[in-house]
């Protein structure tokens, strides 16, 4: 790994995003719109505040999904356009590509998460007991996880169509199993066992842990959940390294 090359990759990915303002606008504002929609559709209903119940999960889920899609498609393009091969035929290390990408996308996520957290806490009155920076930190970890998974998936997809289809295939089951809609201990044993190895479970638990904190402290177990998310992301990213082959058929 060479810092000069890693940063060149980061800068180039950000340049590509800047050329595509529509995508950037979608990445930044769709999570806010969805949170707003969530607040609005339940606004007439008395009872529990849905922004409190689902807001943190949304803040965990959106960076993960968006980065997953962006990474899997842009990496697939690099493969099909031959630019990946060109980079690898140069002194680029695999880690330069992976970390360069991750840095660029995590930077985008920083803006995305700041906006959605600001909207939720500032305007929609979302209750958060723990510190706001902890929310941001969890969101960043989730976007990192999305980047890592998207990268791994790009190796298995031959076309952009397939890459997009991996999203519902990999993300929706995790969403159902993560305990958001139904508490995990009421699930069938097998479903619960599966949920225990899925990263999104920990991502959403970490968000809830920050929310449930008091006096600017997060709830116990939150950092462990966060660590699990980061650890899984690092492992997946490590596996992703093997999908960046210098030599292809």
């Amino acid at each position: 790994m060479t810092p000069r090359i890693t940063l060149a990759v980061t800068r180039r990915v950000l340049q590509q995003l800047r050329r595509d303002p529509r995508t950037v606008a979608l990445m930044l504002f769709v999570p806010c719109l969805i949170l707003l929609l969530l607040w609005w559709v339940f606004s007439e209903l008395p009872g529990r505040d849905m922004v409190d119940s689902f807001g943190p999960a949304l803040i965990a889920f959106m960076p993960f999904t968006v980065m997953f899609i962006v990474t899997s498609i842009t990496m697939l393009r690099e493969r099909t356009a031959g630019t990946l091969e060109r980079m690898l035929a140069m002194p680029t290390g695999r880690a330069d590509i992976l970390i360069g990408y991750a840095l660029a996308l995590v930077a985008v996520c920083l803006v995305q998460a700041t906006l959605v957290i600001g909207l939720g806490v500032g305007f929609l009155g979302m209750d958060v007991g723990g510190p706001l920076w902890a929310l941001l930190l969890v969101a960043l970890a989730d976007s990192f996880l999305g980047t890592a998974l998207g990268l791994a998936v790009s190796a298995f997809a031959r076309t952009e169509f397939q890459a997009v289809q991996f999203m519902p295939a990999l993300v929706l089951p995790q969403l159902l199993l993560c305990g958001l809609f139904i508490p995990r201990d009421t699930m069938p044993d097998l479903a619960r066992a599966v949920s225990e190895v899925l990263p999104l479970t920990y991502a959403i638990d970490a968000m809830k842990g920050v929310q449930a904190g008091v006096d600017g402290q997060v709830a116990t177990g939150t950092w462990t959940d966060l660590l699990v998310v980061v650890a899984i992301a690092v492992v997946v990213l490590g596996l992703g390294t093997f999908t960046l082959r210098r030599q292809t058929d």
Partner: protein
């Protein structure tokens, strides 16, 4: 291996998609030499070039580049490679593309500008590649390979689809790069381009049919042009 051989390929065999597509290739390219690979479509030109650059899997035989096995980390920054289809970012400008690959190689903006000028794109440098014509795109791809003054240039049909004036000027560039000491390996379908090489290898169906200087090949087959020599050699094998 002669002391100034930049590329030495010995008994190279490559399997692609389960079938052997190169059946024992021998080839050398010396420093300062401009070598052309010509031959029918599907003959294995691109595969041979990929193997020399070190991006081809399932390779057997010896390929030495700048004294190291092909694709070794120490030679990666010293080889410029142009793939047959332009491999550049079509959502960036030509300059941004070159600046990126330049940063990977550690070369500065001066060299980016001169590479753009070499391929006659100095004016169009800030145009987004996706909005460029096919010929302009392949020139951006070519400019990328010129960055960092590589010791070996591997150019897979770099002049395809370009007009005669530009083709002549690019061949002038290849010649100048060779004169400056680089080893230049160019594949082409256009036989009158091949006349400009120091040496030609005729590659057909995964085998080198003949190698030699253009004049030597013409003489051997009593042909007037390399194209006729090429056809005569193919007929010779068929007979």
């Amino acid at each position: 291996m002669a002391p100034d051989d930049v590329v030495e390929v010995a008994d190279l065999r490559v399997t692609r998609g389960g079938a052997e597509v190169l059946h024992g290739i021998d080839l050398t390219v010396g420093a300062g030499e401009l070598v052309g690979i010509v031959g029918p479509s599907g003959g294995g030109k691109s595969t041979l070039m990929r193997a020399i650059v070190g991006v081809q899997a399932n390779v057997r035989g010896e390929i030495t580049v700048l004294g190291q096995p092909a694709g070794s980390p120490s030679v990666r920054g010293r080889v410029g490679y142009v793939t047959q289809a332009p491999s550049i970012y079509d959502d960036l400008t030509a300059r941004q593309n070159l600046e990126f690959f330049g940063a990977v190689l550690g070369v500065g903006p001066d060299e980016v500008q001169s590479a753009l000028a070499t391929v006659d794109l100095a004016e169009a440098g800030d145009q987004v590649v996706g909005s460029m014509s096919g010929g302009q795109q392949s020139r951006v791809s070519l400019a990328t390979a010129l960055l960092g003054s590589p010791d070996l240039l591997v150019l897979d049909e770099p002049t395809v689809g370009l007009d005669p004036v530009l083709r002549r000027s690019l061949w002038g560039t290849f010649r100048a790069l060779a004169a400056a000491g680089a080893a230049v390996l160019v594949s082409t379908h256009v036989m009158d381009e091949a006349e400009r090489c120091d040496r030609i290898a005729l590659l057909r169906a995964g085998r080198v049919l003949a190698t030699g200087t253009p004049a030597g090949l013409r003489e051997r087959t009593s042909a007037d042009t390399v194209e006729q020599a090429f056809l005569a050699l193919i007929d010779e094998v068929a007979a």
